[in-house]
Amino acid sequence: MREITYAQAVREALAEEMRRDERVFLMGEDIGVYGGAFGVTLGLIDEFGPERVMDTPLSEAAIIGAAAGAAVLGMRPVAEVQFSDFLTIGSDQLVNQAAKMRYMFGGKVRVPMVVRTPAGSGTGAAAQHSQSLETWFMHIPGLKVVAPATPYDAKGLLKSAIRDDNPVVVFEHKLLYKTKGPVPEEDYTVPIGKAAIRREGTDITVIATSVMVLRSLAAADRLAEEGISVEVIDLRSLRPLDTETIVKSVCKTGRAVVVHEANKFAGFGGEIVGTIVESEAFDYLDAPVVRLGGKDVPIPYNPQLERAAVPQEEDIVAACRNLMRQSPRWRARA
């Protein structure tokens, strides 16, 4: 299969969905000739024109609200919010309007809209351009939240999001835009709400999203050399959450590490741990569940500080080693 980048995969999803359905259009800041802050929409204006690839004023509330208003009347807008940090500016429209319209109005409207947004740290953009705010939106009934880790999923989940009749927030990680992976040329979708097991293992389940999936897989390679077999689950969707895949895996391994870039404190790792301990997997646990998440600080500028603020491959390796040492059965084996 051919390999393309994550950014190209997103662009293909947008182009193919616009070709497939004339109700689909894009709105965002500098997405036209400029191609978006990360070049994701580059060239789309040439094929689809400024009516369908709309450069908007710098107005996140208007962008998200206009997407909701257009969606209610049957359009299928895809809004780009230039950095996920700017979701805060438009969050009334997302949280109080788009997410709630259907329920408040007695289930009588559909709000088929997508908000795509680059998230995460690692680019030196500091505290207001590097956050991982997915937990905020996971908390809101009426929204769906996805965070693809691979080019294949970036395309397939975005297509599902565009075809979904609910507001979907797609968190794309900036560090992933240039990563490459196999992506089919024919049409396909990835279902929202289904996790993927990226690597099978028997000792520890590592549950991750987005760029942390790549770091977890790299950590799993190293741990395999030490005889620790790690199963890596890529959640892909955060709301709805595929609790079945998580529980099944932890029942098998008896140990779990949850890794996300968002702040650990009140982050979605707590929700994953809750899912595990409230389920039958609790009886299979051989050790406490471990959470790795962002430190309790704004993302700093200095590259060493920035790196230290979020989980890295070596943190995942260390956490897994510690977990195995704590475990009585493993100690007996050693």
């Binding site: 208003g69 359009m75 109080n96 408040m104 289930g107 409207v109």
Partner: protein, 330 residues
């Protein structure tokens, strides 16, 4: 008084039947709101609501300038807009009672009444929150080429919200078919306009977006109609948005918690003297279109209509708790 003279002197091209319909619509809103208040006092309606009494000419005058396929977005003070846009009063009453058969299946209540079929894209509990929604609806109308127009209502308090600026600028940039109607009822809850706004010249804001701005007497239904008609026609011609201010006054408190500590009885009484319904009634009498007997008959008919709606709502079932999560997702 002088304002009635202004109405009387107006040349209006509406047929008599249409004028009488507008009068009846204002009466329906007034009676509906009076009964809602009474039902609340009687413990039949709970939660909160915001009465439109005193502002009837603003909703009716503006919405009468729309065609049936056009859309509105409304506010937390939205009953008047719903009725003027053609909502079913029994279904509104059922919603206020929290009934399964209400407009929102009892999930929304007063602040979220919506009826997309009649073009009402929803009241809104967030001040200014509907302005971007209306703008997006207008964007859809433009993209769909359906010739429809969106009328977006909000109060003077919403002018201090960022969403107002973002959305109006957005609509101006894309020349969207939307009419922004700022109902200046003089107070954002307890904050008078001259303390809450840097400039009380509300429509001067339009110039900042390159739009026309028109301020009208919001208690003069025909003045509102004329300004709205011009703005709606302009929007339909593809010439973009207009900002209209309707200067009016709410007679009752902001909501149920309001003890009216921030304004005087004299001020309220002075505005009651400018009652939009009485003024329009006198105007119609002056034209020979309405007699005192007609007026009394119409009042009785409206009263009966509202009582029937109350009885309907009373008879309706509550939502089933087992269906709590219905309608979160499509």
């Amino acid at each position: 008084m002088a304002e009635s003279m202004a109405t009387a002197a107006r040349k209006v091209d509406l047929p008599p039947g249409r004028l009488l319909h507008m009068y009846r619509q204002m009466l329906r809103i007034r009676k509906f709101e009076e009964e809602v208040d009474r039902l609340y006092q009687a413990g039949k309606i709970w939660g909160t609501f915001h009465l439109y009494i005193g502002q009837e000419a603003s909703a009716v005058g503006a919405i009468e300038a729309l065609e049936p396929g056009d859309y509105i977005t409304s506010t937390h003070r939205g009953h008047g807009h719903s009725i003027a846009k053609g909502a079913s009063i029994p279904l509104m009453m059922a919603e206020l009672r929290g009934k399964e058969t209400g407009y929102c299946r009892g999930r929304g209540g007063s602040m979220h009444i919506a009826d997309v079929e009649s073009g009402n894209l929803g009241a809104n509990g967030i001040v200014g929150g509907g302005i971007p929604i209306a703008t997006g609806a207008a964007l859809a109308c433009k993209k769909l080429g359906n010739g429809r127009v969106v009328m977006c209502f909000f109060g003077d308090g919403a002018l201090a919200q960022g969403a107002f600026h973002e959305a109006v600028n957005f609509a101006a940039v894309f020349k969207l078919p939307v009419v922004y109607v700022c109902e200046n009822n003089q107070y954002a809850m307890s904050m008078p306009v001259d303390r809450g706004l840097g400039s009380t010249d509300i429509v001067i804001r339009a110039a900042a977006y390159g739009l026309p701005g028109v301020s009208v007497d919001g208690n003069d239904v025909l003045a509102v109609y004329e300004a709205a008609k011009e703005a709606v026609d302009r929007a339909r011609r593809g010439e973009g948005p207009t900002l209209i201010e309707t200067r009016t006054y709410r007679w009752r408190g902001h909501s149920k918690s309001d003890a009216n500590r921030y304004r005087t009885r004299e001020e309220i009484e002075a505005w009651k003297q400018r009652c939009p319904i009485r003024r329009f009634g006198e105007y119609l009498e002056g034209l020979g279109l309405l007699t005192a007997a007609d007026r009394e008959r119409m009042e009785r008919e409206v009263e009966a209509e509202i009582q029937d709606a109350i009885a309907f709502a009373e008879s309706q079932p509550d939502p089933d708790v087992s269906q709590l999560a219905d309608g979160v997702y499509a």
